[in-house]
Subunit: 385 residues, 2 copies
């Protein structure tokens, strides 16, 4: 018992020193000692270990005031790498993510909604191997794989409980992908890792309560409280797309009527458009709107209104300090950001909270899930190590 406690403390101290060097480079041993209250001996031991393992880069710098030389520490960004994967109905994005959340290299592959789960996994295993080889990445530096996808995911077991968009129910994703690649695998809901990425490396650095909304093939949200993903009881918090807006409304693919997402998501918009004429892509719909075709103007304007209502409902429920708009619709049609912002600030957000939050654009855009998944795998590695 005692022994275990000491090991635990050692690991914790090591992690603390590592995190400080990662977040405040370049930094001196003395500053680390001051911040942590650890002794010079402890810090020397830990820094020694980390240097030996190839994580740390020392540099000599002359401090401005006294002209004395001091040795400063930083991390070698490529000393810890992870693989981030985004799965979507139509595509698979795979990338190598470094300690700073930069995608060192990445690739996008197609995905067919009716492909068997096992086939998809085998393809991913091959894509990962090829990517490491082509990029000249040392597999020994890769600490794990992170996967982000839409749906209900048990982030502890790595089982995808339910994903309409992937067509999966209770598939053991982490287990199978680990067997195929040999890497540890962390799996999570796409919007949760995306919000984590924006919080750590994107537009919401420094925020204590970040809400992220995704508008795309579905509508969802996520919440970061004091740097931690708010998961709810089954890692399903944030499913705003299935909040009911109109009990007499359109049927949703979930079988319930009047879900919020039926007014906003891409497949619903295309399905409604097809009552007038065959529109195959969301780009065609927005072009028809631009050309002033009345039905298209109606559909898009209504979607913008419900996007603003989504913001209002998020603000009322979570009372965040920041709201980030993201997702395929916002990535493809950046004007949406300004239009929704305008609707929110003039009428559609509840007056007492209208000025209570920062309205933000995603900074990582379509790479957010990939980077967030990679960072998740790194976090998991350092916590478990």
């Amino acid at each position: 018992m005692k022994k275990h406690d000491q090991d635990f403390m050692k690991r914790q101290n090591r992690l603390t020193v590592f995190e400080i060097i990662k977040n405040q480079p370049p930094i001196s041993r003395a500053s680390i000692a001051k911040q942590t209250g650890m002794s010079a001996t402890t810090i020397s031991r830990i820094v020694g270990e980390l240097t030996e393992q190839g994580y740390i880069l020392e540099s000599e710098q002359v401090s401005a005031g006294l002209g004395r030389k001091s040795t400063l520490l930083g991390l070698i960004d490529a000393s810890v790498l992870s693989i981030g994967i985004e799965l979507d109905r139509h595509k698979i994005s795979v990338g190598v993510v470094d300690l700073q959340g930069k995608a060192v290299c990445s690739e996008v592959h197609g995905h067919f909604p009716d492909e068997r789960f096992e086939t998809t996994m085998m393809r991913i295993g091959k894509i990962v191997g090829d990517l490491l080889r082509k990029g000249g990445i040392d597999p020994a530096r890769v600490v794990g794989i992170g996967v982000g996808l839409p749906g209900i995911v048990n982030n502890e077991t790595g089982i995808v409980v339910f994903s309409v968009q992937m067509g999966w129910k209770n598939v053991r994703l982490a287990e199978l992908l680990k067997d195929l690649t040999g890497f540890e695998v962390a799996v999570d809901n796409e919007l949760k890792v995306k919000a984590l990425a924006e919080h750590l490396k994107g537009s919401a650095i420094g925020s204590n309560r970040t809400a992220l909304i995704g508008f795309g093939n579905g509508v969802g949200s996520s919440l970061i409280i004091d740097g931690e993903i708010y998961r709810g009881d089954m890692n399903s918090a944030g499913e705003i797309g299935h909040t009911t807006i109109d009990p007499n409304g359109m049927l949703c693919e979930c079988g319930k009527a009047g879900c919020l997402q039926t007014y906003v998501n891409i497949s619903s918009l295309l399905l409604e458009a097809s009552k007038i004429r065959q529109v195959h892509t969301i780009e065609e719909l927005f072009e028809a709107k631009k050309a002033g075709e009345r039905w298209a103007v109606h559909l898009v304007d209504r979607a913008l209104m419900y996007m603003s209502i989504t913001v209002n409902n998020i603000v009322c429920m979570y009372n965040p300090d920041s709201v980030i708009l993201s997702g395929e619709l916002v990535d493809k049609f950046p004007d949406i950001y300004e239009e929704v912002k305008e609707l929110c600030s003039t009428t559609l957000v509840w007056e007492p909270l209208r000025e209570s939050y920062r309205f933000l654009r995603s900074e990582l855009n379509e790479q957010g899930v990939l980077i967030g998944s990679g960072l998740l795998a790194q976090t998991r590695f350092f916590t478990l190590e």
Copy 2:
């Protein structure tokens, strides 16, 4: 710096011992030592202090197994008292709450919506003094006042930022009531303290993510995560009553159209009813429904549907393990509980989460806010002491 740290540790240890005795009575010194890892000397010192201050009751008990006598510790419930106050549009409830969250005595007084804020405060000051005198309560045992009310409350400064129901904007409630009574005053949103009370002493003991919904003169909700109130950035999280359901819907008293609460709250129901005939109380409306009057059946059934939608939207957004129904409507018409439960479990909650939560009745009912406010004042006292 060092000195302050030691004081802090001493206070923390004292609080830890106190909390353990409070939550697990009767308990031996040895059990406390085992749970906390503190030395026998430290525990003896703390228990000695607490006994001297009149908090602790010692009892000798023979343990079942060995027949040895041991001294067990418990708290004297009345050794720490607080005053809990619930403010509502039409009434003021004041009670004395003990350590176990029991209302030792309480009184309900009327409130007129157009009464001046200062007048209300002076009346409350007098009610508190009278109640202590009549109840024979030693003011030295009262550690503070807690106040719960509807609206946006800054729980740190004790300022009521905005309360439509009380007709207040930016009033310094804590400051004025402290001046008038001499007691420390904690102020919070009514549903937040109510959820706290249900979590600590009511139907949600042991839950890690409790959502509470209040249906009454407004519609609101609150969330307890791992024993802590989730406040959001401005203590305004949970304002589900102002989530927009229908942008073309009825005007809400907030000035926005189609807020969820316009379908459910008492004043909206009475206003709609008045299109048919003058109905002065919610009881009259429910009687008309019972008598089968079509317009009343329509209004009440629609309200029940939107209550169920409220549950769905809470479950999708917060993914709680427990949902508690509360508020004047549920207190007055207990059938609502079963009817909403039925609607939720058959159709209106999103299928993947339909079985994910316990559907609970409030246990503390109309005393929830009063008790929660009292417990809030106690928590504040022990944290600051």
